[in-house]
Subunit: 131 residues, 2 copies
């Protein structure tokens, strides 16, 4: 899927391709980076079909607001949760998880992140393929 096609479905700009800690084509546009009044930066992440981030955790947590497409959120040891526009995920601090697009759909979310992120190993292709 070309960038131009992805961009048509999204509310926020695609931004730049993410080069690390993701499988497949994903794009990040930071939409809020000021120090005040929020305790978190806000990024819009857009995933091409099949793209997902590696397993990771957040030292303080993260909130996802789904702005388009269809995707997955999975915490270690739990079933993957289906996500679509209007969905909200409150990711607790230090919980290992990943998120990304379904195999057949692009996916976009805002990510509000008040602290640092610890990146881990990629999501297994076979496990992802079985979703």
């Amino acid at each position: 899927m070309k960038n131009e096609q992805l961009n048509k479905g999204t509310i926020f700009p695609l931004g730049n391709k993410v080069e690390k800690n993701f499988i497949g084509d994903a794009y990040l546009q930071m939409v809020f980076t000021d120090e005040q009044p929020l305790n978190a930066g806000i990024g819009s992440v857009t995933f091409a079909p099949g793209a997902r981030n590696n397993w990771h955790s957040h030292k303080v947590g993260q909130v996802l607001l789904i702005t388009g497409g269809e995707g997955w959120y999975q915490e270690e040891g739990k079933p993957a949760q289906s996500l679509k526009a209007g969905g909200v995920v409150n990711i607790p601090a230090n919980v290992k998880h990943w998120h990304g697009a379904t195999k057949d759909s692009w996916f976009a979310h805002l990510a509000m992140t008040p602290g640092e992120t610890d990146w881990l190993e990629p999501v297994d292709d076979e496990a992802y393929g079985n979703l």
Copy 2:
């Protein structure tokens, strides 16, 4: 414009009609109200054409992320700024302002609000009509 029509254009649910401090038909759906990990609640506000909130200010500030339609943001003593999907506004603490739809378009934004709001007088019909 009927609720059903408004709802088709929005990412987040319409929620409930706002009964105070607004002119025209506006709807609020809180999408994030947890105590952690953010220092702010997040609401999705959807305005019918011509709807806007009264002048007000925020004790800590507020961030708006525009998710659809076309609207205005105006600080006291400054020109109104045009807003559309993908726009971001960082509203400083204690700055008197209003926001809302244009006369001809619905408008929807996420509002992240870390503190209390002080509500003031309605936006003058003639001033709004001249935008």
